[in-house]
Symmetry: C2
Subunit: 262 residues, 2 copies
Amino acid sequence: MRASPPKEIEKYRVDAVDAALGVLQLIAEAPDLGLSEITRRSGQSKARVYRLLCSLEASNFISSTAEKRTYRLGLAALAIGNAAERQIDIARIAGPIIAKLGSSTGETVQLRVRDGRNSLCVAGWEPERAVKVLAGIGGSRPMHAGSGVVLLAFQDEAFRETLLSEPLKAFTERTCVDPDRLRQVLANVRSQGFYVSHGEVSPDLISISAPVMGPDGKIIATIHIGAPTGRVSESLLPTLVETVRSAARELSALLAASRNPG
Amino acid sequence: MRASPPKEIEKYRVDAVDAALGVLQLIAEAPDLGLSEITRRSGQSKARVYRLLCSLEASNFISSTAEKRTYRLGLAALAIGNAAERQIDIARIAGPIIAKLGSSTGETVQLRVRDGRNSLCVAGWEPERAVKVLAGIGGSRPMHAGSGVVLLAFQDEAFRETLLSEPLKAFTERTCVDPDRLRQVLANVRSQGFYVSHGEVSPDLISISAPVMGPDGKIIATIHIGAPTGRVSESLLPTLVETVRSAARELSALLAASRNPG
DNA sequence: CCGATTGGTTCGCTAGATGAACCAATGGTT
DNA sequence: AACCATTGGTTCATCTAGCGAACCAATCGG
């Protein structure tokens, strides 16, 4: 069977399916919208959106609240998500390590992977404290800020450059949006093997990230802890960095082991 | 706007979308199958399945392992699932109550709702013990066995009868598959307000379930604890039953409160 | 009381999805 | 090593199924 000639996924896509999945993701991001609003945001025709909604609803991927005629995710979406958690190696294997890192540091932990040009949180852990960072599992954002920087640092140069050549969104005034400075930062991350971010994603938030590498030397994910700046003193930092790095190494090793069964 | 005339969801369904969602669910249940096997199981034509797979993959709902040409759920599925967990009232609100019930009894907890003619686990909790029942979040099975009995007991009579009129699958030799006896059991559950199941779903497993009711008197879910039979002595049972029932009542109240905001 | 907007429905047209047939590559069997 | 069944992937003429414009009745806000 043909091994390498790249199969042409793009040219076989079924338009109706793409549109439906788009609507589904729209509803995931913005629940409780009505037909008209969904139509507007999706840029499709109303009749089409309505039909897609019917199909999605009939399969229980979405459900419409009885009277208000407004849509949100349904039970099938729940089921799919939980199946995904079991099927996706990294989410499953990382679980225990994330929990350990969390309870030993007492701070929120996130595991993020590249999803297209975004950084997506695939697993997380939250401490039982009044003040904490939200884990936001399933959340997605550009990878040029916060722990995403680590993810970006270890991508192919080509990918990095195309991403740097586009306008970069500033989340706070501390977000680095200058390509040249960012290039410097990325080089630093590559040589040091970790990254500490101060208020780049939201003010008063500090995060410490380290890369999870595959046996082929490619990056798989970033693991990081996030804490309110007040809780991370200058003296505490080095210990935390080492704790995060060792968790990242441990996860890298476990993943490598799982790929070569036996 | 028309209030009651039932909108005709069925007749607007888009075939390609239905087929795609079917394939997606197939992959959720049985990951790591190849094109041919998926084609066989879905009963569609190979070309169609291939196109659907392309669309699903392009949107990251599934991903194909590089060389083995085999498919499993992708990152978008994860993201959707986590969004669903946040959007679906019952899954979100039940979280703390489930955890409390779990840690106070030391046994696995499940919250199950009706999904079509099945009972679907929407949330769960597992103890940190060597021997325990699996939570199986996202799992689905017929509702005539185990805690599903409670779900069935409080459905409309019409629904109950149509379900009873069909052949009932026996999971173990203790599963009740006789319509008449089952009718008796259901009546009992309705009058007592709880149900204790011994090895109906799998041997050596006991479960104690109570219904979560809506303000309209309709059933919303069942909450139950599941334990190895050996850990539940005759003398312990009454206390456990009361603990489960009170958790169910608490959840019912919380849900009622959330529906009438303010 | 009115105009704007909502969710839902109809219908004729044709773009686009469809399935049968085909291909090359692979792997187990003899 | 020659075989055959099976795999993942591709093509193309056919015709159906999805399409959007237009429409409807029910609400809502003012």
